[in-house]
Every structure is written in structure tokens, then in C-alpha cells.
Amino acid sequence: MQTPTKGAYLAAELRLPTNWVDYTILGIYFVVVLGIGFAARRSVKTSLDFFLSGRSLPAWITGLAFISANLAATEILGMAANSAQYGAYTVHWYWIGAIPAMVFLGLVMMPFYYGSKVRSVPEMLLLRFDKWAHLLSSALFAFAAILIAGVNLYALAIVVEALLGWPQWVAIVVAGAFVLAYITLGGLSSAIYNEVLQFFVILAALIPLSVLGLKKVGGWDGLTDRLTAEHGANFTTAWGGTGIGSANPLGANWLTIVLGLGFVLSFGYWTTNFAEVQRALSAKNLSAAQRTPLIAAFPKIFIVFLVMIPGLTAAALIPGFGTSDSGYQYNDAIPYLMEQLLPNGVLGIAVTGLLAAFMAGMAANVSSFNTVFTNDIWGRYVEKGRDDEYYVRFGRLITVIGVCASVGTAFLASSFSNIMSYLQTLFSFFNVPMFVVFIVGMFWKRASVKSGFWGLLAGTVAAMVNYFWIYQQGIIDIPSDQGANFVSAIVGFVAGAVVMVAVSLFTAPKPAEELQGLVYGTTSPGMSEPPAAGDDAWYRRPALLGWGAIVLAAACYIPFSF
């Protein structure tokens, strides 16, 4: 789920004792990243190759890239911070705030996305609604993608400055240049391949860190004992203190957790954020596309432990971790443990993993930005009907421009970090109305072509009004930013849905023959493809994978619930 927005400052005393072994490991990684870019270059012939890997990748690659695109370093540091601050409530961002939505994407929505052969999420809105909904969603997405890419770069610069002592501008320019090089060369294929690589490196970094952290605090029992003594018994439970009306540090109750986080925010992010969905659209057939988020769901269930344990460990080791008198920020949890526990060697892996995660987080946004900008904005409204080579060239050009814009955003962020976190919050509300418009358009055939644009607009505005005016001006009292996020998301969802229904009742419906394959219960021509050989194996059946993930996530709640 979306990372909590906090200023990403690290304490200066976290400088890591890196040596030549660590730098060798880091250096090798950078060489491999570039090598993938050069090697992928020869596979780019058409615009479909550049933007969607020719719709030809196997499910395990797109699935791991799907999880990796989410596992950016801001997410890793942010969720560890979340755990240090709120405790085991962090599991909600994974088990209820991700798995159901990922399964829904794979089982219910993917046949529409992949079967209709759209190249982006906004293009789906063009087919179902009209060009206004399409243009609004494309423009907002393109803008948000650059912003988030820039925020990732800026966060990388801060972390690298604190841990390795590089000046911020060096980190921004170096990381920006590498991402620029490998996406311009190899397009989405090289972004996806690097994401899969990053997935394994980050696991190799987080697993030793969690093991050593647990050992240091005396195992899980030692950890819960210490945390209970300092923060109370609810700190290590998932639902303790979330009754309606009772106070807890998260500032949310079970209803806002289930509806706001688990339903609205999570479904908005996982099912309509193109940076994620793009990975599935590059899969080689419908079965592989459906399995993309389902394969990703299984690591997602367990990754929470690898970010939560370091966060909880840091909170247990240093009393008041994250508060001003401890000298540490919540975001310092993972860097602090790296400095305390990792010897040279594994330390190099951990530094590489963090840097790789920052670059992958940025690259996922850049590679989805260039697709939407080229196909949905430039190719649709500015330079229509040019030959395919033109759009490949333009895609490369806009990648360069996009990376330069995010480098600029990163430098801006370093001088106006408050404005950045404000903007990030602003855009976090954009996925919610996207989801309303999708879900209403997909399940209600009466939803008119005009209702898409107005639903999108109304939902976005309502969520923002609730957050920035009603919450921040204190008109209603919500104890924390996270809690307010959940409520704003629910408000945005309801407003978008109501406006869509109202507009639909006063405007003409879309003719039934134009709705084929766009509304639930109809099929598009592309969906009649016969399944590929071997896809009928039991372990490749989407329904089994999907329901398996749901059951597993629910079972994970049990030890945290009583």
C-alpha cells in the first residue's frame, strides 16, 4: 500500500563503516544494471516492445516485477518506520491492504484489461467512457508519476548522504543517469528485468537483518516482552484497541481500517495504478497476466515480516525510538540496524539492495509515465497516426525528459520538502476516484460515457476537501494523518460513486454493442484465445492461486489477533 508520507531525514551518526568489499558489490550491481539495458536494446523493434515488452513475458517475471515495483525503498523504510511508530498494525497494509485487492485484480479485472488489449489504464477509460475522462486521468497520472519518481530520487539522496557520505547532488545525478540509461535503451523490458533482480537483492539484504535483529532482542518473545513493557499490550497485536471510539496510536478503528485501507485505498492503488498494472499487461497471455498479481501476492504476505521486524526491533532496542530525545527518526530503523549489526560483505548487499530499491521505485514510475505520455497524450491528441518508429523515438525522448523532470523535482524537494509531502498526499487521493470510476463502469452498464469524467473529478475533489480542509482545519477530529487518509479515501469513493450515478441518470447510456468486453458479464473478441499448453496445470489456475493467497493472509492474522 501507499507509503506513509514522512520527511525522510536520517540521523547523521548513521554513517556506515563500508569498505572496499561493500563498494565492489555495489559496483558490480551498477554494471549489471547497465548490461541489462544494453542487452535488452536489441529486443526493441516496435512501440509495443518498448512500452509493454511486446506482451510476451512469462508470469514469474511479471509477477516478481509487480511486487518489486511496489517494494521501492520509500516503502521499505516507510513501513519499517510505520512499525516502529504504530507497532504490529503494519500488517494491515499487507494482509488486508494488499492481498484482497491483488487477488481482485487478477481474478476479476485482468480479463478486461488484458483481453481488451489496452496499453494503459487510462486507455481503458477511453474505451468505456470518453476522451475527457481519458485526458484527465492520463494527465494526472503522468504528473503524479514524475512527482513520485522525483520523491524517490530525493529520498535516495538523503539516505545515501547519511549512510555513505556522498553529497546529495551526486546521488541524484548518478541514480538518475543509470535509470535514464537503462530505460531509454531497453524500455519496459529492462525496467522489469532490473526489478526482478532487485527483488532478490533486497531479500538478501532484509533476511539477514531481520534474523540478527531478532537474535539481538532475544527472539520474538524477547521482542514482544520489551515492546509490551514500553508501549502496552496492543502494540504487538493487529486489532487491539481498534474498537470504534477507543483510542490507539494509529488513529483508526476497525471500520476505517477495513473500508478505508482494505477496500478503497488498497483497491485504488493495486487495481488502477498503471505503474503496477503495466507489469501485468506485459505478460505473454491472459493466463500469465492474471497470475501476475497472484504470484506477487505470496511474497507480499511474508515481506511484512522483513520490514516489521527491523522496525519493531529498533523500537525495542532504543527507548523512545523515533521521538526527538532518542536522536533517531522513525525512518532510521533499518539504517540503524544495518549500522549496528551487519559486517562488511552483507553490509554491501544491504546498501546495494536499498539503492536498487530506490532506483526500481523511480524506474517503475518513469516507465509507466513514458507509456501514458506517448500513447495516451501525445499519440492520441497531439501527433496522431504517425508510423510506429516515430512513437518509439518519441518514447525514448520523453523518457529523457521525464528523468530530467524528476531530477528537477528531486532538487526542488530538497529545498521545499514540506511542499513535497503535501503534493504526495494530494496525489494519493487520485487513485481512489479512479477505482470508483472503474468499478462502477465495469459492473453497471447504465453508467453513461459522461459520468466517468465527473465521477473522477468529484471523487478527487471530495477526498482533498476532506483531508486538507475538514481534517487539517480541525473541523472534525481525527487523531493521526493515517487515520485521516483512510477517512478521506472513503469520502472520495462515496462522492465519486454518487456523482456517477446522478450524472448517468441524466445522460444517455452507452449503446450495448459498444460495451462488449468492457462490462462484467460480456466478453471481448480477444478473450476467446485458447489457453496455452501447460496453463491448465493446477498450480497455474488463477482461482486456486487467488483464493490460496486470501486464505493464507487470513491465517496470518490469527496469531496477531488473540
Binding site: 568489499v21 565492489t24 558489490i25 558490480i28 550491481y29 549489471v32 548490461g35 541489462i36 542487452a39 535488452a40 536489441r42 529486443s43 526493441v44 523493434k45 516496435t46 512501440s47 509495443l48 516492445d49 515488452s53 511486446g54 506482451r55 510476451s56 481488451s116 488489449k117 496499453r119 486507455e123 474505451l127 470518453d130 476522451k131 523490458s189 528485468y193 526482478v196 533482480l197 532478490f200 538478501a204 533476511i207 539477514p208 534474523v211 540478527l212 537474535k215 505473454k284 549496528q340 549489526l341 551487519l342 559486517p343 562488511n344 560483505g345 552483507v346 554491501g348 548487499i349 510506429d388 460515457v449 445522460t507 449503446p511 459498444e514 468486453g517 468492457l518 471481448s524 473478441p525 480477444g526
Partner: protein
């Protein structure tokens, strides 16, 4: 309904199907398993070597666990797994669609 819908699902289907028939990714992209396998074998060797004869100070730091050795061996195994998988199930020849 005021304006005719200029762009339909059939247009997308036609465009993308045509592009897909010309696409080169399936035929020319290298197999990622080779890269993951190679990188993790290399990393595994480096980190395992760092874990042979650990200094007392680095052992103290990592709670008495020789974490370099274990992590290095783990990474080595993962690398070998990918190379063996590649050997057993080589890249399938591209299918013309």
C-alpha cells in the same frame, strides 16, 4: 449521447494485434535466469569469502552468528538454482502468434 465515439475497442484490438505480430521481444530478449544466476553466484562467492575467518569484532557485531558465511551460501544456492533451472528447462523457442 452528443458525440460519436471515435475510438472503439476494435481499433485497439487491431492496432495491438498488428504490433504484436511485429514484436521482437519474444524472439530476441535474453533469458533473465542467466543474469540472476550469474550475479548471485558471484555475490555468493564474495560474501562467503568474507565469512571465512571472520574477525572477532565482526562476529561480535553480528551477535555471534557468522552472517556473511550463511548469507553468502544462501545467495550461492539461489544462483545455482537459477542456473540449474535454466539448464533443465532452456529458453523455449519463440512461438509465432
Amino acid at each position: 449521447m452528443s458525440e460519436p465515439h471515435g475510438y472503439s475497442e476494435h481499433d485497439v484490438q487491431r492496432e495491438v494485434t498488428e504490433l504484436q505480430s511485429k514484436s521482437a521481444t519474444a524472439a530476441r530478449i535474453f533469458d533473465l535466469r542467466r543474469i540472476i544466476g550469474g550475479l548471485f553466484v558471484l555475490y555468493g562467492i564474495i560474501v562467503t569469502i568474507a565469512g571465512i575467518n571472520p574477525s572477532d569484532s565482526s562476529l561480535d557485531k553480528s551477535e555471534g552468528i557468522n552472517i556473511n558465511l550463511w548469507t553468502g551460501l544462501g545467495m550461492l544456492l539461489l544462483g545455482i538454482f537459477f542456473l540449474v533451472w535454466l539448464k533443465l528447462r532452456p529458453t523455449p523457442p519463440p512461438v509465432r502468434r
